[in-house]
Amino acid sequence: MLDEKTRLQKALAREPVDRPPCICPGGMMNMVTRELMEASGLFLPEAHTDPVRMARLATAASNARCFENYGLPFCMTVEAEALGATVDLGTATYEPRVVGYAIDSVAQWERLPPFDAGTGRPGVVLDAIALLAAQGGSVPIIGNLTGPMSLAGSLLEPVTLYRELRRNPGQAHAFLDHLTDHILAFGLGQLEAGADVIALSDPSGTGEILGPALFAAYELPALARIITGLRQAFPQAGIIVHICGKMHKVFPLLAGLGCDALSFDAVVSLKKAREHLPQTALMGNVSTFALESGSPDKVAALTRHCLECGVDIVSPACGMGNASPLANMQAMLTTVAGHTPGKNHARHSDS
């Protein structure tokens, strides 16, 4: 039997494994629930700003036999806040959210403050990763990055952003390039601190909003540059990209992205994704609605469906709701752990 880190690394590399890993990366793909906070005695929003609390809360889901990884931070506002957005850190129930933008137009990007990964909340994240890494062990540490379009839409009103991608392409490219540099620097910092895997989530960079033309012009090159930059410095690191929404119009574009795994939300058919992306590890996509409001049996059935579709890594389809019951989260891992690779399974049958 493989340990959790080895299994995840092999699944990301599409090497044979005994069974797929069951993970939830953290970041946008939240895995902190009320029951996990109660079980660990560590609560949000305090854990957003304290490296010791953040590191300990990041282990709660693994300790409770829900997921086979540590994941942090617990939101997607860290980079935006460091770049001048006003953030409300929320409560134990509500996630942190941007309440004030930093700029009014892409053309003002030069006004953004310099990004320093070592201070503020980025510094908290790096310190927390270092604490987890120092602890050692076989559970993989996943560090999270907010993707370029989502970060842009946290610094600037999204409707203005989407409009200016067309109306002011020169400045829009300069703005996104600037953000891409910072995201890459923060990712390198996370790997330096000891993260094993980086999950880069860009829910706003979806083909459903951008369409194929803007996706190809802005989103793909920015993601590719981050992935390449991370790879060049840390060739052994695993890289997961998560994008929300309908993606079938841009599947062919994703094949050349260069990440290890792609993660989609529950509206994407894994079977269809597999047809277009035969070489990429696929991660997903157990409905977070079912995880929050369904029964353990329902969650187990959805998990089995993902496995039968040939998913390489089982995970929730999106960020989990705060009220998701522990029993539902545990049903995912129990189902995956009991899974015997069968003939429907894309790759694990040969192991």
Binding site: P158, V159, R163, R166, R167, I209, G211, E292
Partner: protein
């Protein structure tokens, strides 16, 4: 080409092609030629926005395209509206309150629904995002809304939708106010569960769902305006 039919087609095309500057020139040419503003709005600008909506439904257009089309529509509307006859400016429209529920700031979908409902002739009151439960009910009461549209993209915040329906019931407003919900985590089953009237799957279908729910009121208004 100053004939009415050609100009209407041109107005419509400006919206579909996202030409927010040219649409101003065409709108002025249309008014200068003495054509009626109402027809220019409905058969030019609104027609263009409906065509854009159909392209969105067919996945030829995407969210960002629809936003730019609406910019062109609103630019044209700003030119044509001052030329509407007084009776038309005063005409009563069905009032709709819309917003993203508290705890959530994802408002792209809500903005699209607002645009398409406005295009369909509803009078929109947009509360924005991260809107407390009570604010929806207070606004609906204040403006005499017939419809409340609730949006969220997060499972954590969808429970607030049920609270809004419950508060409308408590205030005895439920007979007069219909509720439509939308957003990635919600569904027709969830709408039923919380006692909302309907679920709308996207901005285009929100218009047909709203028309269906408000068919009686829309029919009555059509009869009133004919009699007036």
């Amino acid at each position: 080409m100053n004939d009415k039919h050609g100009l209407l087609q041109h107005l419509s095309d400006c919206v579909v092609n996202m030409e927010d500057e040219r649409v101003v020139d065409v709108s002025r040419a249309y008014v200068d030629a003495g054509h009626p503003a109402l027809e220019g709005i409905l058969e030019g600008l609104v027609d263009g926005m409906n065509r854009a909506g159909a392209l969105y439904d067919e996945e030829e257009y995407f969210v960002s395209d629809l936003l730019l089309c609406s910019d062109a529509m609103y630019a044209g509307l700003a030119e044509l509206k001052p030329h509407l006859p007084e009776s038309e400016k005063r005409a009563r429209k069905i009032r709709v309150v819309i917003g993203v529920v508290e705890g959530d700031t994802h408002d792209i979908g809500k903005n699209l629904v607002k645009i398409m409902l406005e295009t369909a002739g509803f009078e929109m009151y947009d509360l924005g995002r991260d809107v407390p439960v009570e604010a929806f009910v207070a606004k609906a009461k204040e403006v005499g809304a017939s419809l409340v549209c609730l949006s969220t993209l997060m499972t954590t915040t969808m429970t607030n939708m049920g609270r809004i329906v419950a508060l409308l019931e408590k205030e005895n407003m439920r007979d007069a106010v219909k509720v439509i919900i939308g957003g990635a985590p919600v569904s027709p089953a969830f709408a039923k569960k919380i006692g909302a009237d309907a679920y709308a799957d996207n901005a285009v279908s929100a218009v047909s769902v709203a028309r269906q729910l408000l068919a009686a009121e829309l029919g009555q208004m059509a009869r009133d305006s004919r009699d007036a």
